[in-house]
Subunit: 235 residues, 2 copies
């Protein structure tokens, strides 16, 4: 069964969450079961873009990763779209035999047995501003099948007070999982370049809010890649 | 024996290195055995500022931490100056009994038995641009006494190509320690505010350099606090 791939790019650094700053090659899956109103990767989500997605075998994806990384092991980040709609198990097996490790970020709506092969599973249930409601039973199922991943972390995007309240409720539900808060990027569709100062201002808002609340358990991080490269693709 | 304290502030977020984004209260020790040419905390280093340092008992420092954090456990970051010139053991013991955890960042020139009580020990040997040369035997001794810390990480500031080469040699010397690279902040003494865009540009330079070299093991991170607040103190 071939994979539907929106893009493969890197090496670059992971711009957000638990692996922030980590060199990585991104494999962006095409296709998603969600349509978040502020999605910054609609080209990997909307079926109108399907003609731009490549059908690639696991071996073809693996060859591309090796070429981009100069055959030097690194972390491969599976993103999307929702990568959990597809079977990345064979690709992960190929990479592991060559010393590569894998991370995957997904909203947690579809459990996949290959989660257990990951070094890092990032679950990012979507807050109210997305227009979606998480299915907690499915997120729980992702935790069960991902139990063998070396680390599991939560990432919550926070645009407003309702999202912030959602993040606190998720933390209460999963007190043992490390949580990463991230200010939303309202300029995802902007044709102008977003400046690092814009991102820094939104980060400061979220930091001030969280600390004033004496909520000290989550880490609060920006999207570094937006600070470095604005909303450009492929970096 | 009272502590010499330059400042205690927070809660804020840790702006750099392995704990980036983590809510924390900073305890900045007064006094340093180094005089790095680009030091951004001369007010905690130069003896001409000694009159501004407070002599505080461990209980006084602990009371201040509790007041700032609303008696809610968090990570306390010991910085400086060089905090390893003083005995923070009794303070750490006080905090641990109340559920607080401790991180310490030091250049690794002075081993202290209390390193073993830390959750996180960050060793930041200074690169050539600092005008200093690390004493490796002392750094090794810090690793020995810090063995019981939950995690130990290296942080290297990189201003130029020589610093970059230094970072690679340190990685070769300590292949098992996670390493964090950080672009230097040349505007530390600037009266104008440093912009997040300035920091983002220097980060991009370091990311590009490291990835072009296919060096994928270190994480590469900016000073987030400079992006958020410029070179202001106390945030």
């Amino acid at each position: 069964m071939p994979l539907r791939i929106s893009e493969i790019f890197g090496p670059t650094v992971q711009g957000e969450g638990i692996l922030i700053g980590e060199p990585t090659v991104f494999v962006r899956a095409g296709g998603c079961d969600y349509r978040c109103v502020w999605c910054d990767s609609r080209y990997a989500v909307d079926t109108s873009h399907r003609k731009d997605w490549q059908r690639m075998s696991h071996h073809e994806v693996w060859a591309k990763i090796q070429a981009l990384s100069n055959a030097t092991p690194l972390t491969v980040s599976l993103s999307g779209g929702n990568p959990a709609l597809q079977d990345f198990g064979p690709l992960i097996d190929l990479g592991l035999t060559h010393g590569y490790t894998f991370a995957c970020e997904t909203q947690g709506s579809v459990p996949q047995s290959w989660f257990g092969k990951l070094k890092t599973l990032i679950l990012s249930p979507k807050p109210p501003s997305s227009g979606r409601e998480p299915d907690w039973a499915r997120l729980d199922a992702c935790l069960v099948v991902g139990h063998d991943a070396q680390q599991i972390a939560l990432k919550i995007v926070v645009f407003d007070d309702a999202d912030y309240g959602f993040a606190k409720s998720v933390a209460k539900r999963y007190p043992d999982l490390p949580m990463y808060l991230q200010p939303g990027n309202p300029d995802f569709a902007a044709s102008h370049d977003v400046s690092a100062d814009d991102v820094a201002r939104r980060l400061t808002w979220l930091v001030d809010k969280t600390l004033a609340d004496a909520w000290f358990t989550p880490r609060i991080l920006p999207q570094l890649h937006v600070m470095m490269w604005g909303n450009r693709r492929g970096v």
